[in-house]
């Protein structure tokens, strides 16, 4: 991109020359920072000014809104029913109407509301660059396609179809449908590659371009797209679905416009957007002024374990809120976990509209007035050149920061819009898979179990076990029988809660379940997992409650368990705990790993085992109702050890009768022990806090609440820790983990050779 060193102010004439030169020599138009860094609603257009000055009839606006909502839902239902993408089937999609400037005025009732934070970007881009571009232009019947998150998206697997509503030659509004399509030609199937090491591994990167021209779908461009992805059927079918849905919506809206007139319609959209903006400011002013901070630490690049920080500080003053992400770790230029800022913002929006203010209409203005401070070049605000296949790793942490901090910010407010609730689980613990099915089809997809994220505890009730993904209400999980009919693997354990897997607290977080899968009857099959949190808990507790545990991937390779089970029914007694600890299949190889498993070939009958996480706990576990603890123990939800160690509850394990006195004494003792071992804070800090991270830890981010960023750079002399302001950090890349392992092995060999004095001839 272009930049000029402004040492001397140019004259108007000079500036014009320069501009013209630059314009003529632009290599290509990248994302426009002016558009991409701005999430605020646009200023009123002249047209909107005039219309609103004339006054609006509130009741009429309400009627228009209802009809728009009906039309959008209609379009949504069509996409959900007809969409071929798995995401469409569980509602990972949206339909929306926008003002001429691209602000989302209304989003379909169902589906992923995070889209309301980012869809204005591509429209602003189209309006700025393509409207007056003679080779492009915007005409009636045109449709633009887009997926590249760097131009405004949650991630590249979502594809939008965007169409203008034009009256008298003017764009007066936009309608779009967006679906999580999955496959997009990335280096691994499914559209969210954890293995991507360059942006080019991320698959299709469509900046907004016109694929429907005056009502006609362009075959040439369509063919190009189909050739660029693994599933050309999907690419075609869903493009058709989106076009049909958007057109249906537009038919309804045309009717509304015909009835009420362009001015009233435009006024209604703008009023809606502005109403919400006013309301959001009012709601912010209800929160206590102050600063709130929550830092999160992620333990994985999905290839190797590191520790990278997601820093988040919120300041509330009057009706103004600022979110400050500075201190967040740098982007890692050859790993998939980086996220563009807009994607992180979309998950802020998700938290705002789903967890803060679920009653608020979904539009761009829900976050418009909130100021966001972030420096480009972090993994939560990645630059143009960073791979972003697993941007959810950063953006879901953006969600968690907002979700948990709001429960804290709003704790004291007398008027609440949603329940105080501890952290929702924030990882998509599921299997991605691909290969050749029993029907001979080539497929790639994932288990909908990612929709079983456990909920956080409430201040008055335990969290719901494996209940709903944080990013979409009413997202469905599949029936195994239906899955097994389509794909050549079984969930031998499909849904069984894992004992002790909850966020402990006065009220406990929801529990997660384990899944054990194995392929059967397929020439070629493989699995992937794409989550972090095997060494550092992904979510934390609230007010003395604990977070979730850490989640491994466990595998039994080199044996066909189906053969064992067919021979001996007693071997069909599977749980991660039993299989890994008792090792019932003699010939098997038992392994654990973190949950960033790149596509791994699975032979028939090899076991892959994972567990859903847990929701955060609320309050001091010693305050948990002892009866509830015993009930959990009786149901096998917790072990006796946990009942005693964490909750200090004593009961008879044979009869599950609570020992009331024993419990009172144990709790008294536990409190005393805390008073004994706890150190006054200053004293504690003096012992605990170190000036920098432990030497062996690959740590990225600020160490404490400081401006400078700590990182490990891999230099020619090996890893070297650097601490500097973000802008001055070197480019961060991590070495290939296999090379690291080989180097370690070679060093060990050399060491042993030396030790035993072996003389090795390298050249024979």
């Amino acid at each position: 991109m272009t930049a000029i060193d402004e040492t001397r102010a140019l004259t108007a004439q000079e500036q014009e020359w320069v501009d013209k030169f630059m314009d003529e020599t632009t290599l290509f138009l990248g994302p426009d920072p002016e558009i991409m860094r701005d999430h605020a609603i646009s200023a009123r257009s002249d047209h909107e000014e005039i219309v609103l000055a004339a006054g609006v009839d509130r009741l009429q606006v309400e009627r228009i809104r209802k009809r728009i909502a009906g039309a959008l839902d209609e379009g949504y239902e069509m996409c959900e029913a007809q969409g071929a993408a798995p995401g469409a089937k569980w509602g990972d999609l949206t339909t929306a109407i926008y003002t001429a400037a691209g602000d989302v005025a209304y989003l379909s009732c169902h589906g992923v509301i995070a889209f309301s934070a980012i869809l204005h970007h591509p429209i602003r881009y189209i309006m700025k660059y393509w409207k007056d571009e003679p080779t492009v232009g915007i005409h009636e019947g045109d449709g633009f396609i887009h997926n590249d998150a760097r131009f405004g998206n949650i991630h590249n697997t979502d594809q939008s179809m965007i169409m203008p509503i034009i009256r008298d030659g003017q764009v007066i509004a936009w309608v779009a449908a967006t679906i999580h399509e999955g496959e997009n030609g990335a280096c691994e199937p499914g559209g969210m590659p954890s293995g991507s090491e360059t942006p080019f591994d991320d698959g299709l990167r469509m900046s907004p371009f016109k694929i429907v021209e005056r009502g006609h779908l362009r075959r040439d461009l369509l063919t190009f797209l189909q050739h660029s992805v693994r599933d050309p059927k999907l690419q075609l079918a869903d493009l058709k679905v989106k076009i049909t849905a958007v057109r249906k919506i537009m038919e309804r809206i045309d009717k509304v416009i015909d009835e009420v007139g362009v001015d009233t319609f435009v006024g209604a959209l703008r009023t809606t957007v502005e109403d919400v903006d006013v309301e959001v400011r009012r709601r912010i002013s209800e929160l206590p002024d102050g600063t709130y901070r929550m830092d999160q630490f992620m333990d994985s690049t999905l290839k190797e374990n590191i520790l990278i920080k997601f820093a988040c500080k919120i300041t509330v003053k009057g009706d103004h809120m600022t979110i400050d992400l500075r201190g967040t770790g740098p982007e890692i230029l050859n790993r998939a976990i980086n996220s563009p800022l807009c994607s992180v913002k979309s998950m802020f929006m998700q938290a705002i509209l789903a967890f803060w203010w679920p009653d608020l209409p979904r539009c761009t203005s829900a976050m418009s007035c909130i100021e966001i401070i972030s420096d480009e070049g972090t993994w939560a605000d990645a630059s143009y050149d960073a791979p972003m296949g697993q941007s959810l790793q950063a953006s879901f942490r953006g969600f968690s920061a907002m979700q948990a901090m709001y429960s804290r910010m709003s704790f004291s407010t007398p008027h609440k819009y949603s329940n105080v609730v501890a952290n929702w689980f924030n990882q998509i613990n599921t299997f991605l898979w691909g290969g050749i099915t029993q029907h001979g089809d080539m497929v790639g997809n994932l288990c909908a179990d990612l929709n079983g994220m456990p909920g956080g505890a409430k201040p008055f009730k335990d969290g719901e076990d494996a209940v709903s993904p944080l990013f979409c209400a009413m997202a469905d999980t599949a029936e195994q029988e239906v899955m097994e009919e389509e794909v050549p693997f079984m969930q031998l354990v499909s849904k069984r809660l894992v004992r002790d897997n909850m966020g402990f607290g006065k009220f406990t977080g929801g529990m997660g379940y384990e899944m054990i899968v194995a392929a059967e009857g397929t020439p070629q099959w493989g699995f992937m997992t794409v989550t972090s949190g095997a060494k550092f808990s992904s979510i934390y507790g609230m007010y003395g409650g604990y977070g979730c545990g850490a989640y491994p991937l466990a595998m039994v390779k080199g044996t066909n368990v189906y053969e064992h089970i067919r021979r001996d029914n007693s071997k069909f007694d599977l749980s991660i705990e039993k299989v890994m600890n008792e090792r019932p299949f003699e010939d098997g190889k038992y392994l654990t790993a973190h949950m960033g498993l790149q596509f791994d070939i699975a032979k028939d009958g090899e076991l892959y085992m994972i567990s859903q996480g847990a929701g955060g706990g609320y309050g001091d576990p010693l305050e948990r109702d002892p009866v509830a603890v015993v009930r959990d123990a009786e149901l096998g939800r917790i072990s006796q050890k946990v009942a005693e160690d964490i909750f200090a509850v004593v009961y008879d394990p044979a009869t599950f009768r609570l020992d009331v006195e024993g419990t009172t004494a144990a709790r008294q003792a536990a409190r005393q022990a805390r008073l004994q071992r706890g150190k006054p804070f200053e004293e504690f800090c003096a012992e605990f806090v170190t000036p920098e991270p432990p030497a062996e830890l690959l740590y990225y981010g600020s160490w404490g609440d400081v401006e400078e960023i700590t990182a490990t750079e891999f230099t020619i002399d090996g890893p070297k820790r650097v601490t500097a302001p973000l802008k001055q950090l070197p480019i961060i890349m991590v070495p290939d983990r296999r090379e690291v392992k080989i180097a370690a092995l070679e060093a060990r060999i050399a060491e042993l050779e030396t030790k035993y004095g072996e003389d090795v001839q390298r050249l024979t």
Binding site: K233, E481, L497
Partner: protein, 709 residues
């Protein structure tokens, strides 16, 4: 034809009585402790109107049919036995965890979206009553892990010890191979005989639902087991009562599939919602008999607005995974869309947009609208209707309830007027218009997502509030003809009088009609036909067991099909084709599917190039029977305006000043009358509001047309 049909609802027991040419309607209050009392009262009233006595009628009548919504209530009130469940190893928490939508099924939209308040309903089967057995079938029904009888014994013993009063066995892939479910049943019967266990009913998943989906099938079986006793009890009371008065034929029970069967061939699950569904069925019959064309049936009551879809040409719309109370189940149910809007819907102030929000909260019948004067403090649609002058405070609901307009005015002023800076009548108008439009949007969406246009439809309006809001809803929906149908006050019961004995049997299959990868068409005809034959045989058995001649049994083959990997599976009824004998049949099926699909979504949206699959084969087995005759709905002849009984000032949408509006009573509803709007007609059961620009033309059998001028 001599026939009694009843619909036992939460409040009223409706009776529709056919005695040769005489058609009589009657109503009584439902008597919950013994349904027979209310039944008898309604029947007696009907008999009196027909100049007959109960004993004569019951000894001569050829059938008694019965529809009810009581199963739903029993479920909501959780009145039932302790059910234990036996599931496949590895699926121990499938039932308690439900599916991803499990916390929100059956809730209104705002609660579904509210994740911080997400809470699953209280389980019917508590986790303590779920056990797994080590066994597993694969998707083709091949045994992966064998069943161990010892394992079964200990598990059953545990469940019985834990207090299970009914047992549900629902194993993975049992629809493909039920051997393990049957084996478990056998072990239970052999080793836990009734004298030891008492009569613990055992229900097998594959017998309740033939579809794939281990969660929905288990849930269906559980609900069936849970309601079994209470339904059986209620039905027995009724049938005993019938026997006492000389009726010796079997009592017929209406099913939510749109058919009916004898009591002993009825699963409890099949009776849920059968009342409202009988109404849709009546609409269908009315449409066929009188040539109404496309019909949308609407039933607007106090808390909900039910929409049923009856397109011309017998196209059926079913829900295959309907929600019952808070549970997703697997049973083919006639499609009924329910909007949370009725007379009791609460109007509240929407601060964000400075507007009025209507529903989804409802004042229900307790406390009811503010004007019921039972302590209801918040304004409702009925309060708006009252203030606008549509309702007569002294003659509402046949005089059962005296309305108090003072309360309505107070509630609206208190909650809405100041905020909106509008006066009471303006607000009332906005409420009435708003709710009409909301329902019209619901109707429009319902039709359009299925490929229909509202303007092509006749709207049937029944239910307590239907004829009052009919014109308003129709105007917003773009519908020009509204019919308050014949016998509208007992319309569901009337529908029950028309139903056929019908049974559905279905099986989940994996039939690739067209394989896009290999570019080949399905050719395993024998396999396909064998499934169809088996399903037909099961339907035949059901009907033969009820005394029908196998030769009278007819079959309709239906397939659920889809393109590629769509979520949507479209039910396709094959009118004449019941077997597959060559490529021509396969292509015919594909074509029928394509036609239905293109009609629904537009021709360009069909995607056969992505492959074509059939997931479910379903056979409807039925016998034809006598039906109620509806008179022609064409009035014809000269019409004149009858005499009004009074007049009053009434506020209408689109008219700033109140209009002096004539008021009529039921005497005005003669077949040669025409009542131009604005007008109000108050009858025993309902209020007809004729808005300006509409006219009302009664026809025979109590039906009334609303027509746009």
């Amino acid at each position: 034809m001599k026939r009694i049909s009843v619909d036992i609802g939460g409040t009223f027991t409706d009776c529709f009585f056919v005695w040769d040419e005489k058609y009589v309607e009657a109503k009584a209050l439902t008597t919950h402790h013994n349904l027979a009392l209310g039944f008898n009262e309604a029947l007696d009233l009907a008999c009196k109107r027909a100049d007959l006595d109960r004993a004569t009628v019951l000894s001569e009548v050829d059938s008694v049919r019965y529809a009810t919504t009581l199963g739903t209530n029993a479920l909501i009130e959780r009145k039932g036995p302790k059910v234990g469940a036996i599931v496949t190893h590895g699926f121990e928490d499938t039932i308690p965890l439900s599916r991803g939508r499990g916390y929100g099924e059956g809730l209104d939209y705002s609660m579904q979206q509210n994740l911080p308040a997400a809470e699953r309903p209280e389980a019917i089967v508590p986790r303590t009553l779920i056990r797994s057995v080590k066994e597993r079938m694969n998707s083709a029904g091949k045994v992966v892990a064998h069943l161990d009888p010892e394992d079964v014994r200990s598990v059953v013993r545990e469940l019985v010890d834990a207090g299970a009063e009914a047992l549900v066995v629902s194993l993975v892939n049992a629809t493909e191979n039920p051997a393990h479910e049957l084996a478990i049943q056998e072990i239970i019967l052999d080793e836990f005989p009734p004298h030891e266990l008492g009569a613990i009913p055992v229900l097998l998943g594959h017998q309740v639902s033939g579809r794939k989906g281990e969660y929905v099938r288990a849930t269906s079986t559980i609900i069936d087991g849970f309601l079994h006793e209470i339904m059986f009890h209620a039905l027995s009371q009724l049938s005993q009562n019938l026997r006492d008065y000389g009726y010796d034929k079997p009592m017929l029970v209406i099913h939510n599939s749109g058919g009916m069967a004898q009591m002993n061939s009825t699963d409890a699950l099949q009776t849920i919602h059968s009342g409202p569904i009988a109404g849709v069925s009546a609409a269908e019959h009315l449409s066929t008999e009188t040539g109404l064309g496309h019909v949308i049936s609407t039933d607007m009551g106090g808390t909900s607005f039910d929409i049923g879809l009856v397109p011309e040409g017998g196209v059926k719309h079913y829900d295959f995974l309907p929600t019952i109370d808070r549970w997703l189940v697997s049973v083919p149910m006639v499609h009924l869309d329910t909007l949370g809007a009725g007379g009791g819907s609460i109007a509240s102030y929407d601060r964000i947009h400075n507007a009025i929000k209507i529903g989804p909260e409802s004042a229900g019948s307790n406390p009811g609208p503010a004007c019921y004067d039972r302590g209801g403090l918040r304004p409702t649609v009925t309060d708006a209707d009252l203030l606008l002058g549509y309702l007569d405070p002294d003659n509402y609901a046949n005089g059962y309830i005296k309305l108090n307009p003072k309360r309505s005015r107070f509630a609206i002023e208190e909650h809405l007027c100041d905020h909106l800076d509008l006066d009471v009548i303006d607000v009332a108008r906005a409420i009435k218009d708003g709710v009409d439009e909301q329902m019209a949007i619901g109707i429009g969406k319902e039709l359009r997502v299925r490929g229909y246009l509202p303007e092509d439809f006749t709207m049937l309006a029944y239910g307590g509030n239907g004829p009052l809001h009919a014109c308003g809803i129709a105007r917003h929906a773009g519908i020009k003809r509204v019919l308050a149908p014949p016998y509208s006050s007992v319309f569901s019961a009337c529908g029950a009088g028309n139903m056929r004995q019908l049974h559905f049997h279905e099986r989940g299959v994996h039939v690739t009609m067209y394989n896009a990868t290999t570019r080949s068409l399905y050719d395993r005809y024998d396999e396909f036909n064998a499934v169809v034959e088996d399903l037909e045989a099961r339907g035949r058995e059901d009907l033969v067991r009820q005394g029908f001649d196998p030769a009278d049994v007819k079959y309709r083959l239906e397939l659920d099909m889809r393109y590629g990997n769509q979520l949507l599976t479209q039910a396709v009824a094959l009118e004449d084709l019941t077997r597959m004998s060559g490529v021509g049949d396969v292509l015919a099926m594909i074509k029928t599917f394509g036609d239905v699909y293109s009609h629904r979504f537009g021709a360009s949206s069909a995607a056969p190039e992505a492959g074509i699959r059939c997931n479910t084969i379903r056979v409807a087995s039925y016998v034809e029977g006598d039906v109620v005759n509806f008179d022609s709905l064409d009035g014809g002849g000269e019409r004149h305006t009858p005499a009004q009984v009074s007049e009053r000032k009434v506020h209408f949408i689109g008219h700033d000043a109140p209009l002096l509006t004539p008021v009529y009573d039921h005497h005005a509803l003669t077949v040669d009358a025409v009542i131009p709007g604005p007008a109000i007609v108050t009858t025993e059961n309902t209020t007809f509001l004729v808005e300006p620009g509409w006219r009302l033309e009664p026809t025979s059998q109590g039906a009334v047309w609303f027509l746009q001028d």
